[in-house]
């Protein structure tokens, strides 16, 4: 302390930050105490988990047609939702780009995007199941909404980052607004758009395996039924298939992104 008083401290103590950390730690301990997160409770849980895992192995090698129907429906939901979602997100993203559109237009588009983003896809799926009934249609519509929310925002940001010099040069040739978009804006953002779209396909593949749990079609319904019937070996088969699907999706989207670099 005395040394610090005479010399200039190179790393002065940041008391607000220290207080914030201490407060966070204290709150975490308090929150944990609310839920009786004790070691005994954990051991009971682990024991239960061991029995659950035991019943999962070996995975069921059967019910292939059920698995196939569920998985293919999930893939179809993801593909259709991504395609339509991206298709709608492109104009919405353009309308939300503040460097190309008048302010009042961007407010509307940004409002729409914020609305699409406010709910988790599962909540949207529940709404659509109630609105249009059980099945893939509800799942597709739910994922379209979440795709618009996510992709349109990224599109808008990508457009806002383009070089306006290139746009200016094309405008100076007397090009129409459509031609300026096509030849000066699109070339600058296309590679990123494709990157975003493939990420969204990844994410929609994951989500399409979920929407079935609330009645939105796809493998989720099969998975949920298997849980409820305690067919844990079939559950494991489904989970492994989903992992395989996601990995394949990852590889394919990576390949697409490289192609359009």
């Amino acid at each position: 302390m005395s040394a610090a008083a005479t010399r200039r401290a190179p790393f002065p103590a940041n008391w607000p930050a220290r207080l914030a950390w201490a407060g966070l730690a204290a709150y975490t301990v308090y929150a944990a105490s609310l839920f009786e997160l004790t070691w005994t409770r954990f051991l009971v849980g682990i024991d239960n988990g061991a029995r659950f895992f035991d019943r999962m192995f070996p995975p069921l090698m059967g019910k292939w047609d059920l698995l196939w129907r569920g998985m293919s429906e999930s893939v179809e939901i993801a593909l259709i939702a991504t395609f339509l979602g991206v298709l709608i997100a492109m104009p919405v993203g353009l309308l939300a780009a503040r460097n190309l559109m008048p302010a009042w237009v961007t407010w509307g588009a940004r409002g729409l995007i914020a609305m699409c983003r406010s709910f988790h896809p599962m909540i949207v799926a529940i709404l659509f199941v109630k609105a249009v009934g059980f099945g893939a249609l509800a799942g597709i519509m739910a994922l379209i909404v979440s795709s618009i929310g996510f992709i349109a925002k990224l599109f808008a940001e990508a457009i806002e980052e383009i070089s306006l010099k290139q746009v200016e040069a094309v405008r100076a040739t007397g090009a129409s607004f459509a031609n300026v978009l096509l030849m000066a804006v699109v070339p600058q953002v296309l590679a990123r758009f494709i990157g975003f779209a493939t990420y969204q396909l990844d994410s929609n593949l994951r989500n399409s395996t979920m929407v079935g749990i609330v009645g939105g079609g796809g493998i989720g319904a099969t998975l949920f039924t298997a849980f409820q019937r305690f067919d844990y070996d079939f559950v494991l088969t489904i989970l492994i298939t989903i992992i395989a699907l996601i990995m394949i999706g990852e590889v394919v989207s990576g390949w697409v992104r490289r192609t359009f670099q």
């Binding site: 070089s163 290139q166 200016e168 040069a169 405008r171 040739t173 007397g174 031609n179 030849m183 070339p187």
Partner: protein, 265 residues
């Protein structure tokens, strides 16, 4: 649309290519004009160089002509129209007749050289054809001819971001000429280039525009280049014209008036 093209073509470049700027004023911030009621007449041929210190309104002046910058007041008379008053389709039609070369080339980086040159036709082709790259054969031939003329015929398929600065500016010139313009504007076309390439670019512009009888208005920092290539020099300072004459009339005292000080002379 095609009628304009045909008319210009049939007349063999004879329509009046002079440009008259009257009382042009531009204020980016209200009350602080960057251009103070500038009036200049540009003849319909040859090169006019505008020199002056940075921030004196040269760029603004040039950009007001094709309305990349909105003038606050004044008239810009070109081929019977006041460019300052045009809007929408009429403005786009006027821009088609005015080519522009930029300091930083402003090529669309991810398009190829030939696509960039063909951008000069975007005022004429529909979005559909541009999207499918189905330009009229006449335009494609013209684009290859221009690439040949600027010495980059072998780079047609190369993306603009793979070209050097000098090569990019050549493409920039080809794009401007692809418009078959009646006026060529150049905004500091050599400021990002080395001295040798700068001279080559100026020579190329003078040669290609000269062949087509297109007048050039160029903003330029380099007084030597201005004197060497222009038939007329306009000196600006503080948003006003302080010198207007032939290169051989430009004396040190004029340069002092334009740039201020004399230690640099």
């Amino acid at each position: 649309m095609t009628s304009v093209e045909v008319k210009a073509g049939a007349a063999g470049g004879s329509p009046d290519r002079s440009l008259r700027i009257q009382g042009l004023r531009k204020e980016y911030v209200r009350g602080t004009p960057v251009l103070r009621d500038v009036s200049i007449d540009f003849a319909g041929k040859g090169m006019t160089a505008i020199i002056g210190p940075s921030g004196t309104g040269k760029s603004t002046l040039i950009r007001c002509v094709n309305r990349l910058v909105e003038p606050t007041a004044g008239k810009i008379l070109f081929q019977g129209q006041d460019l300052a008053a045009l809007r929408g389709a009429a403005l786009r039609a006027a821009r088609r007749r005015i080519g522009m070369v930029f300091q930083e080339y402003n090529l669309v980086e991810r398009l190829t050289a030939i696509e960039n040159v063909l951008c000069g036709r975007l005022g004429y082709v529909s979005a559909w054809r541009a999207w499918l790259r189905r330009y009229p054969q006449e335009d494609i031939d013209g684009a290859f001819e221009l690439l040949e003329a600027v010495g980059l015929a072998d780079r047609a398929g190369q993306r603009a971001d793979a070209l050097s600065g000098g090569q990019r500016q050549r493409i920039g010139i080809a794009r401007a000429l692809m418009q078959r313009p009646d006026l060529l504007l150049a905004d500091e076309p050599t400021s990002s280039l080395d001295p040798k390439t700068s001279v080559e670019i100026m020579e190329l512009m003078v040669e290609l525009a000269g062949k087509r009888d297109i007048p050039i208005v160029v903003n330029i920092h380099n007084v030597e280049l201005a004197k060497r290539f222009a038939q007329r020099i306009v000196g600006m300072t503080g948003g006003s014209v302080v010198f207007d004459g032939r290169p051989d009339e430009l004396r040190d005292e004029h340069l002092k008036a334009i740039y201020g000080g004399e230690a640099w002379l």
